[in-house]
């Protein structure tokens, strides 16, 4: 077992109710939830692996692939949706060569979708790390990404 997980688990009692805090701690350490580590958690808590995965996928806060250096969040809230957020998402996916929820192989970008980020007036909106890019058009996608290369 990875020493890091061992240390994390050592601070818990092994009760089922600890599942969320453990998942959080592991994600904090690894940046995401690696499968091997989730299996260790299942063993530790004596719950089925499928259930650990079920719980983890229920919460938006958990990631299952390593995070990129920069996190791209595409808003798919109502306003953005109406203004073509899906097209922006498509363009990003094409440009980065990954699907939503994944990370580029150079570990530079992760791509996520989110619900309304509260900047509806600027719809469609994409956030990269803490920066908001509003009124985005598909042809500007490349340029925006360029700033982070």
């Amino acid at each position: 077992m990875d020493e890091r997980v061992k240390n994390i688990l050592a601070s818990f009692r092994g009760h089922r109710s600890e599942i969320i805090p453990i998942l959080q701690a592991v994600q904090h350490e690894f940046g995401y939830l690696p499968e091997q580590e989730m299996k260790e958690i299942a063993k530790f808590l004596r719950v089925p692996e499928s259930q650990v995965y079920g719980v983890a996928t229920f919460y938006a806060q958990f990631y299952f692939t390593p995070r990129g250096k920069h996190e791209i969040k595409v808003c798919l809230g109502t306003a953005c949706h109406v203004r073509g957020a899906n097209k922006i998402l498509d363009a990003l996916e094409r440009e980065l060569g990954i699907c939503c929820g994944e990370t580029t192989s150079d570990a530079l970008f992760s791509l996520e979708k989110v619900a309304c980020v509260g900047s509806c007036a600027l719809a469609p909106v994409v956030m990269i790390d803490d920066n908001v890019y509003g009124r985005l058009e598909t042809k500007k996608v490349k340029e925006v990404l360029g700033k982070y290369a």
Partner: protein
């Protein structure tokens, strides 16, 4: 049970306390729509279609218990409104292609829509569901997410019934779906492919692949393992199209494992033998029955006594095995009659005769859940006896203690348990350590020992010098853990011990078995429900093969042959030769016969006195029924050489096995689905199998072939049977254990031997007031011994072998499309430390080399196996090229298969 009075829709009804409103309504023919509730599963309250109104309150009827005076209304305006909305929402998200759906007319959602009356027009206005791809990557199960109503029945089935816990709800909101860990395909998860979720899915989201609806069903027994599950073969025309577990069968209660449910297609395989074959100029060519039988009569008929060897098949029926045994002795005048039990439980069977008088599993499979402690050693029930594996899981979930002794982490290790990770071949030291602790800590059942057993003091004295430190040093299991196991076993009663090849396949295997039986006797664990021993039989009818005397040691019914009066206490049973000469109406051979390994390696050491060790090969001809000896016997190279050198070999089988390829004549036999007869399960239950379809081509049932040959060899009068029922009548007349068994009774009764006569109801629990045959159980002195071949510098690892879930041996399941995809691939499992030292990673090609041969496989690096040990599945890759047939057990003649020193090389 207290009854509760309530009214449902103005009807006064009575229901047992604790039942739900839904159950009470359905029992009184009041329908309440329900989707997520299933009679075999705990209520979940997910779909909310089963709403009812009780005193103005809306309640979920599937999870609300009835109460005295309750007034339930199932169809108020309010209920109907909410229900219709819920149904419409569900249907709106559901892919509506009913006409092409495999579930059409059998679908719960359709049933509910009809009842509720869904408005098609309104439906049309709702958004159609986004079509998700149908996942048909699994060989036996198709998954169509667009049809899933998220009732969770599959999740609960997998958890509550199967205990595999492979699937759960994953993700959330609109994206919620049913999936495995990591959202992988089922076949890459913990899924055991039992198909239980598929048969319970109320809609077409989970469907079995390639099934058609049968026009009739035939009740029969599974042909794979010894668990003996009941099933129905669904037939259409002359073809099997489906299989369904028999819900009324007490062993499996409707459940089946992957083999039982999906493995039947071998019956219709193109590769079935359809005509007799005769070898001409080195090639097997098609021939007529007349030609083939004439040739066999002329050639086989030349050999008598010690010149000929006969193999009965543990896959055939009792009737056929009985005839094989009779044919060998009456027609060929030989006691060289053997079967694969000599490679597996002969050490148990012959070993236990002088201890407890019988090696039968002491209790029915359905009593496993009554045990308070399950000691599972040298076996892997989840994969090799899957339904027994389920019973163990259920027992543990309801609180039974589990002890697992195994060098590998078997799937049962996912349950709470006490693990004894012993080195292969050191079972005896471990077991004696447990016995010693029971002695020292006075955890004995003194009364039982005094009243029901003999010679306890001799056994006790033999343990005097043995210490726990020694047990630890030899087995590698910490002494404290051994003590803990002893306490757990001795104080949780009733306790049941399970074992299989890990215990028996040693040249001192009978001692391992003795030790286990001694543990049960020391603690009084005999003769009670849920207590005793469960030596799990491998083949569907290997129990029957031993019962029917397919062994040199006894005639049918454990009635001893001359030369096998090994056990002084059986004085009065010394030899039943005269009895059988009278019954069969002819003289029988006097010379003791040879069992499986000895027939091919007469120089094998261990059994009999040293004068029996270095025998010359006297056998010139073999008649082999349904046994692939070339793959299954240890030291298989020698088997091949012997068969190649033989003057005449007849093989009778359903496929052209590696063994059949070496034959001079091959006779095509009928499979289990094409004939009538009986199989005896591992728990001694004698069960009917029934003909469902016609054998392919010219194939005949084995019993008919044997009778035909006997007739041509001049014994027609002794082999004149109309049908298998008549053979069973004869068996009942000569085998007291089967004395009361008849086809008539088997139609309506569940009978386990001993069943002494028409009035006798069979014996669910063995050894109740006295031990079968020996009256009193007998202790024997025991000292541990090491395996005859140990690892050294050249061969530093110990190879041990076993089964994988999807496969049953090889010849039948290899013909089943899809089994391969389910992890039937060959590998050799190696501990990560050893792998690191050899710079191996999973998937690397490796050469496995023993002192006897070598073979290629792929490495599977794992934590689940002890360092120094490698595990190789038996199904493929001719593992017995590596094992040795040089050392066999003095009582059971079983070879030392489970401890085979090897080295691993990168290939």
């Amino acid at each position: 049970m207290t009854q509760v009075n309530l009214t449902i829709d103005q009807l006064d009804v009575m229901a047992e306390e604790g039942t739900t409103i839904l159950q009470a309504a359905l029992a009184n023919n009041i329908y309440i729509p329900h989707l997520c509730s299933h009679p075999e599963l705990r209520p979940a309250g997910i779909c909310r279609l089963c709403l009812v109104e009780v005193e103005g309150q809306l309640l979920v009827s599937c999870s609300t218990a009835v109460a005295e005076g309750m007034v339930v209304q199932t169809a108020t305006l309010e209920v109907e409104k909410i229900r219709r909305l819920a149904v419409e929402l569900m249907v709106a998200e559901h892919e509506r292609t009913c006409l092409s759906c495999g579930k059409n007319n059998d679908c719960k959602l359709q049933e509910i829509c009809r009842f509720v009356g869904v408005d098609e027009k309104r439906l049309a206005s709702l958004q159609p569901a986004e079509r998700k791809l149908v996942d048909s990557s699994h060989p036996f199960i198709t998954k169509d997410e667009s049809k899933c109503v998220l009732c969770g029945i599959c999740v609960r089935t997998c958890r509550e019934i199967q205990g595999a816990e492979a699937i759960d709800f994953i993700s959330r909101g609109y994206a919620t779906k049913i999936g495995t860990f990591g959202a992988r395909p089922l076949q890459e998860s913990n899924c055991e492919a039992c198909g239980e979720c598929v048969i319970r899915c109320p809609v077409g989201a989970l469907l079995p692949r390639g099934f058609a609806r049968p026009s009739r069903e035939v009740e029969t027994i599974c042909p794979f393992c010894g668990t003996g599950c009941g099933l129905f073969l669904g037939v259409r025309g002359d073809r099997i199209v489906s299989v369904r577990g028999n819900p009324g069968h007490t062993t499996n209660r409707g459940r089946l494992c992957v083999k039982g449910r999906f493995g039947w297609t071998f019956v219709h395989s193109q590769e079935r033998l359809k005509t007799p074959l005769i070898k001409r100029k080195g090639r097997l060519e098609e021939a007529s029955w007349e030609e083939a039988l004439e040739l066999v009569t002329a050639k086989l008929g030349r050999y008598r006594g010690e010149e000929v060897g006969v193999f009965a098949s543990a896959k055939t029926t009792n009737e056929e095995i009985y005839l094989t045994s009779k044919f060998a002795r009456v027609v060929l005048k030989t006691n060289n009659i053997a079967n694969v039990a000599h490679l597996c439980h002969a050490n148990t069977v012959r070993g236990l005769l002088p201890v407890t008088g019988s090696a039968g599993m002491t209790v029915p499979v359905w009593q496993i859940k009554e045990a308070a402690c399950l000691f599972v050693t040298g076996c892997n029930p989840t994969e090799a006896h899957p339904i027994i594996g389920l019973e163990i899981r259920q027992a543990v979930r309801s609180g039974a203690k589990l002890i697992i002794a195994n060098p590998r982490e078997i799937p049962l290790c996912r349950l709470p348990h006490l693990r004894l990770p012993l080195r292969p071949g050191t079972d005896l030291a471990l077991l004696l350590g447990i016995a010693k602790t029971i002695l020292e800590e006075k955890l004995l059942d003194e009364a039982f020992i005094a009243e029901r057993t003999l010679n306890f003091d001799t056994f006790k004295a033999s343990l005097e010098k043995f210490s726990l430190a020694e047990a630890e040093a030899v087995s590698g299991v910490p002494a404290e853990r051994i003590r803990e196991a002893a306490r757990l076993y001795a104080t949780s009663k009733p306790a049941l011990i399970f074992w299989s090849m890990g215990i028996t396949q040693h040249s001192h295997g009978h001692k391992n078995v003795w030790a286990l039986a001694h543990l049960a006797m020391m603690t009084g664990n005999y003769g009670k429900a849920g207590a005793g021993v469960a030596p799990l039989r491998g083949h569907n009818n290997v129990q029957g093969a031993t019962d029917m005397g397919a062994t040199p040691a006894w005639y049918p019914g454990y009635q001893l042959c001359p030369g096998y009066e090994l056990y002084p206490r059986f004085g009065k049973f010394a030899s039943s030769k005269e009895k059988f000469e009278a019954a069969w109406g002819c003289e029988l051979p006097e010379t003791p016969g040879l069992s499986t390994v000895k027939q091919f390696n007469p120089r094998a050491r261990g059994w009999g006195g040293p004068e029996m060790w270095d025998l010359p090969q006297k056998i010139k001809a073999w008649y082999i029924i349904g046994t692939d000896l070339v793959n299954s016997v240890a030291g298989s190279h020698g088997v091949r050489q012997n068969l190649e050198a033989a003057e005449f070999v007849v093989v009778q089988d359903i496929f052209l096995t590696e063994t059949a390829k070496l034959a001079h004549v091959v006779l095509p036999a009928a499979s289990f689905a094409e004939k009538d007869g009986t199989f005896t399960a591992t728990d001694r239950r004698v069960q009917r199998i029934r003909r469902a379809v016609t054998p392919p081509g010219l194939a005949w049932p084995d019993w008919r072939i044997i009778c035909e040959l006997a007739g041509r060899m001049g014994y027609g009068d002794k082999f004149a049977y109309q049908d298998p029922a008549q053979i069973m009548e004869e068996i009942a007349s000569v085998v007291p254990l089967y004395g009361g068994i008849s086809y008539g009774r088997l139609e309506k009764e569940e009978l386990r031997w001993p069943c002494y006569g028409q009035e006798h109801g069979g014996t669910p629990v063995l050894h109740v007031d006295r031990f079968l045959r020996v009256e009193k159980g007998e202790f024997w002195p025991l000292e541990y011994e090491l395996s005859p071949e140990l690892p050294d510098e050249e061969y530093p690892l110990v190879m041990t072998t076993g089964r994988l879930l999807p496969h049953f041996h090889y010849n039948m399941t290899a013909k089943v499309e899809g089994i391969e995809a389910l992890g039937g691939k060959d590998f050799v499992e190696i501990n990560e430390e050893d792998a690191a030292a050899l710079q191996l990673k999973s998937g690397d090609m490796v050469r496995l080399v023993s002192r006897r041969g070598s073979l290629l496989s792929r490495a599977k690096v794992s934590k689940a196996i002890l360092p120094g040990v490698v595990f190789k599945p038996i199904h493929k890759g001719a593992v017995n090229l590596l094992t040795s047939a040089d050392f066999i057990d003095p009582m059971g003649t079983t070879p030392n298969t489970k401890v085979c020193p090897v080295r691993l090389e990168k290939a």
